[in-house]
Symmetry: none
Amino acid sequence: MNKKEKIVQAAIEVFKEKGIEKTKISDIVKLANIAQGTFYLYFPSKLSVMPAIAEIMVEKTITAVKNNVREDEAFFIQMEQVVDAVFNITSEYREILALIYAGLASTEHLKEWETVYQPFYSWISEFLTKAKNSGTIRDSIHVERTSKLFIGLVESAAEQIYLYDTKQDDQANIQKAEVLDFLTHALNVKK
Amino acid sequence: MNKKEKIVQAAIEVFKEKGIEKTKISDIVKLANIAQGTFYLYFPSKLSVMPAIAEIMVEKTITAVKNNVREDEAFFIQMEQVVDAVFNITSEYREILALIYAGLASTEHLKEWETVYQPFYSWISEFLTKAKNSGTIRDSIHVERTSKLFIGLVESAAEQIYLYDTKQDDQANIQKAEVLDFLTHALNVKK
Amino acid sequence: MNKKEKIVQAAIEVFKEKGIEKTKISDIVKLANIAQGTFYLYFPSKLSVMPAIAEIMVEKTITAVKNNVREDEAFFIQMEQVVDAVFNITSEYREILALIYAGLASTEHLKEWETVYQPFYSWISEFLTKAKNSGTIRDSIHVERTSKLFIGLVESAAEQIYLYDTKQDDQANIQKAEVLDFLTHALNVKK
Amino acid sequence: MNKKEKIVQAAIEVFKEKGIEKTKISDIVKLANIAQGTFYLYFPSKLSVMPAIAEIMVEKTITAVKNNVREDEAFFIQMEQVVDAVFNITSEYREILALIYAGLASTEHLKEWETVYQPFYSWISEFLTKAKNSGTIRDSIHVERTSKLFIGLVESAAEQIYLYDTKQDDQANIQKAEVLDFLTHALNVKK
DNA sequence: AATGAATGAGGCTTCATTCAT
DNA sequence: GATGAATGAAGCCTCATTCAT
């Protein structure tokens, strides 16, 4: 692994562990096993690592979704699998997700966010397009715009559970079911 | 205005201007026109001001929603008015909202978030309950849980436009229409 | 003594001792017996102390000259006393003088130099005016401009001895005599 | 051009641009278009380049003086030509001259200064010797010592104009005339 | 000889926090 | 309660120097 990747990986770990505010650059380089000065060859500041981290997280999310969705299943089941995957990722990486919002929000990197998310939007768009073409969801769906609402809804639902709630698990299942039901109606899914 | 309020107002301004990470307590006290030491009589740290800010913002949101919704209108129209209000608030206070997420996320104050949001959830819950009782939306709706999805959906949609997008206005209207349509189906709204 | 003066005095000492390049701000504050952070309440950097030091040095020079010149002596003798005073100051504070040149030269403070020197120019101007009025020096002398040449000549002569030469003392006396002779002719001094 | 010369030339440029204190070795090698490590094959430190620069400047000065002085002119005219040449050099290279003083002053290289200047002193000595032998200047002149005063006077006069003054040109001519007059009397020049 | 990525010691600077007034 | 000058711990960041290629 090259030094830049090492830094990003280490930053993810440390941010997760201590939070952004309390993370020192010395923590990152220690974990990355490189010299303090080397950090500055690749990033000008602690926060400038955030977009790189965000990119990786979106990649992870897309990969998880792809891996979780069975090609041969019905749309409704696949939708459930998407929701499951997003909930799982949110659960596993909630600290990092929270800090991505924080990190991107507290800097000028905000504008990069949409770009980073684009591949996920695209995947969901195509997912919806197929269902729309096969008549599984209502024909009035605008797939691009709905893909953003879809992701926004599922992620905010997952965050409500994992980021802000202390309780979990059973709550998560209820919330998932609710989201699915909500989506089923919203998209007018034929089962 | 008493000193505590002065601090909160100044903190909102400065956070908005410079972001949380880069805001110094000295910036806040300078704008609040009080002495450095006075800050510590009211708050133990920079981030401990966040819940107070969040509270104000949720109050603003609820007030805006209440003021925007006409009692005598049909549910569908009212729903549109709710969406409008949330979009407006998000547009007007997007920096502060972003920093609230950032500020709460980057601290231990996260758990206070749900508490702070509770009044808004309650209001939407009641709003849905009335519609459910009058048969305007499908009977299978679980009002408490759906209120959270409802708010999560609308806010994430608004954020997609105002926080991350550069373009606006026309985009906003399209997004609003999309959200309404999405909700109409999700809730099975009878017009 | 207030903190600012303390810093200037300490800076003179430390610069003298270690040179500018090798002086750390921590050295200055240690000697001034103040906290590291206090330094920055008064000066933004190590070099920004230089003009304050230069001012003090010019003051010292003027004082030394004034104290060394006997009111009741002939102009030629007084001129000798002036040269003596400048040579003495240069000898005693050669490191500081060298670093003033260095410090002012290596920054943007260069322009302040003339302002700082003005009082010395004025004193010599008046000194020459009296001699000119009493017919002791040639009438064609332009006192303001000549005062600058006078000081430039004497100081560069003194620097040649004390700043750059390793040998001293006997050299100094020869140089002084030479300067005096040079000036005597330049000004056409009647003894 | 070999690497060593490249370094010296680049150092002159960068020192001129940013001042000594703020110049990094990385700046020099960047401009010299060589690798960081290569610098150390030729110089042990940033300041050790200074004597090489000083030498070049003195060479430039002597060359300028030699080129400007017409063999067949009267001493007084030649003296004017010397003053002109020194003023011109000071005007053209004032930043470098300032940094030479600064650079040599702030190190242990100070002692090398006199050595570097020796050729210029020698040239002026000989210049004065000829005038003395031909009876053009007073017989009491000690040529070696006077050469140093001569140079010191003219350079300090030029520096007062070009290093520290903002105004120029017309000022320069007045100052030159004053210096000439001063010297004429000091040396008792017969026209 | 030349390179330039990597190093890490150490100086710079900030800024939360204190406390005498 | 209010003040704000002073503090100094702590982290940032630079940049001279090295060394494997």
